[in-house]
């Protein structure tokens, strides 16, 4: 099932759903015809869209909002905080082309601080999907919750079959005693490649899909810290405020220490190009991730990375 099919199904079953967009219809092309007045395109007006969503939520609706990740989380930031966060209204944000998925657009479109700022707002919950199956599995619970929610949309396909989603729970893919990679979103795809390479090198490797970033699965983080010699926080986000910070906060809160390697963007936006070239240039292909963790090169072969297809 695709994102659009899920949203269509839920919205047709439950007329509390109102689908909104600030003129970003890539994910919802067929919904105007299906939903009629319950599809609202406000034009390029992210702030007004979020404010209006709060108004709709006040009247009992569940608005699901679509815009590019930077404009949704940053242009409308104070509207999210003030109009959805303070009153704790169920405004559901679907954030399109987050992180490396903005490929050739440039820094204006690079949401690599969105997790940080969204999780900083009380009441706002934050999620990221490893692929479209993971996304479709998590959204019913997220949209049914009473809180505002920010979801990093990722409609890419992987070969992994995800386990059922629960808010506040991580998905433990594998456990390992030498190194464990904690990741979320798009980079899950590359983490799978990295794990295979590391295993071929004889290491005991764990992988955790941190799909619920707020509330976060503190128990899973503490368990990994205690059982794995090295913890890697892999993310297409600045190290500041993202998963690396979440892990640091969690360890400190539980007075636990661990050897943690931040594997994110270190204080700079990434080089714009098509996605495969971005990953290669920035050092985020599975092979590069594995080799950086190992500290040496290998003969492993990097599988081809598909260029995003955002067309209908």
């Amino acid at each position: 099932m695709s994102y659009e099919e899920l949203l269509t199904k839920l919205a047709l079953e439950d007329d509390r759903f109102v689908v909104m967009t600030a003129e970003n219809r890539a994910l919802v092309r067929n919904l105007p015809a299906k939903l009629g007045k319950r599809f609202v395109d406000t034009g390029i007006t992210e702030q007004t869209m979020v404010g209006a969503a709060a108004g709709l939520a006040l009247r009992g609706r569940i608005p699901v909002l679509h815009a590019l990740a930077t404009f949704l989380s940053m242009r409308a930031f104070e509207f999210i905080r003030t109009d959805a966060g303070i009153p704790n209204l169920p405004v559901k944000l679907s954030s399109f082309i987050p992180g490396f998925l903005s490929d050739g657009n440039g820094p204006t479109h690079q949401a690599v601080e969105d997790i940080s700022i969204m999780r900083g707002i009380p009441n706002v919950t934050v999620f990221a999907a490893a692929d479209e199956q993971d996304l479709v599995g998590m959204l019913p619970a997220i949209w049914a919750s009473p809180n505002p929610a920010y979801v990093r949309i990722n409609t890419r396909q992987t070969t992994y079959n995800h386990s059922p989603f629960e808010i506040g729970k991580a998905e433990v893919i594998s456990e390992g005693t030498d190194v464990t990679i904690l990741t979320y979103g798009l980079l899950f795809e590359q983490a799978l490649v990295a794990v295979d390479i590391l295993k071929e090198q004889g290491l005991s490797v764990g992988l955790v899909n941190m799909r619920s970033l707020k509330p976060v699965d503190e128990a899973a983080i503490i368990k990994v810290a205690k059982t794995s010699k090295l913890v890697v926080t892999l993310e297409d986000h600045f190290n500041t405020g993202g998963l690396y910070s979440i892990v640091a906060e969690t360890l400190l809160k539980h007075q636990t220490t661990a050897k943690v390697m931040p594997y994110g963007l270190d204080g700079k936006w990434f080089k714009p190009a098509l996605l495969p070239a971005v990953l290669e240039y920035e050092g985020f292909t599975g092979k590069q991730i594995a080799e950086k963790i190992l500290g040496h090169t290998t003969n492993a072969i990097q599988p081809e990375i598909a260029t995003p297809e955002f067309a209908e």
Binding site: T45, N105, G106, E280, A311
Partner: protein
């Protein structure tokens, strides 16, 4: 006149060549081409030798997705080595879907709509404070006018009597895959700007004489923000994509590019098979 037409033709060729191997925002680039060519090749005091001069003119491209027209113009007027255009979307250069200042001549990065009206306003404000005579132009998209920040800038420019600032709207009637009047209607646009205190001229944005007539009347009215509404056609020069809602971001195959270059030269219209409704 014929010179500007020649330059604009070559710029459109550059744009078409950038519309493959990842693609670009072709339609919006083609609508703004004549405007950008006129401003750089004839009107503005901006060239490769005066970029550091605080008394030169400024042009801020707020609808940043039409940057292929700017790259092409820079290549034709000597601000950029035309060979660099082959680096479009390569990690070896900085030529991608939105403007950035690693390219000489680009004043400010853009891509997030509704930012540069205020940045341009700040530059114009400083020029006024220092008693300068240079002009500041900001090119906006018509869809971009959805963003409230554009209208805030118009109000503030009026409050500060910034008659050295010119907002130019590339009125190509579309925003992404929708007609503006079907989504968030803007008309009567002239009246809206006038009501906000600006002095407004509305012209054909593909007619160099009309562009000349409007810009040579600068400043339109003492103490008022100048606004030029340039009526344009999205995809101008390529009948196969002109004024089509589904042709916004285009990633053509190499055969289509060759055919589109012929179409631009007036030969037969291309039969496009590549994906429509591409979103970036």
């Amino acid at each position: 006149m014929s010179d500007l037409k020649d330059i604009a033709f070559k710029v459109r060729q550059h744009i078409i060549r950038m519309s493959t191997d990842g693609g670009c925002f072709v339609g919006a680039s083609l609508s703004a081409t004549d405007l950008i060519v006129y401003l750089y090749a004839e009107y503005l005091n901006i060239n490769k030798d005066n970029l550091e001069d605080p008394n030169r003119d400024y042009l801020f491209l707020s609808k940043g997705h039409d940057v292929p027209a700017l790259y092409g113009t820079f290549a034709e007027i000597g601000l950029m080595d035309p060979e660099r255009l082959k680096n479009h979307l390569s990690t070896s250069d900085n030529i991608y879907w939105h403007p950035n200042t690693k390219i000489d001549g680009i004043e400010f990065h853009s891509g997030s709509l509704g930012h540069l009206p205020s940045v341009a306003l700040g530059v114009a404000l400083d020029i006024k404070m220092r008693g300068g005579k240079n002009k500041v132009i900001c090119i906006l998209g018509d869809g971009e006018l959805n963003e409230g920040s554009c209208w805030e800038a118009v109000l503030v420019a009026g409050a500060h009597k910034l008659d050295n600032l010119i907002f130019v709207v590339d009125r190509n009637q579309f925003q992404a895959n929708m007609a503006t009047e079907d989504l968030i209607p803007l008309e009567p646009l002239h009246d809206k700007f006038t009501a906000f205190g600006a002095a407004v001229k509305r012209i054909d944005g593909h007619d160099f004489d009309a562009l000349r007539g409007a810009f040579n009347a600068y400043p339109f009215e003492e103490g008022k923000l100048n606004v030029v509404i340039a009526d344009t056609v999205r995809g101008k020069g390529l009948p196969s994509i002109e004024a089509r809602a589904d042709r916004w971001f285009c990633n053509f195959n190499s055969e289509e590019v060759e055919s589109l270059l012929k179409e631009l030269a007036g030969e037969e219209v291309t039969q496009l098979t590549s994906e429509t409704l591409v979103v970036r």
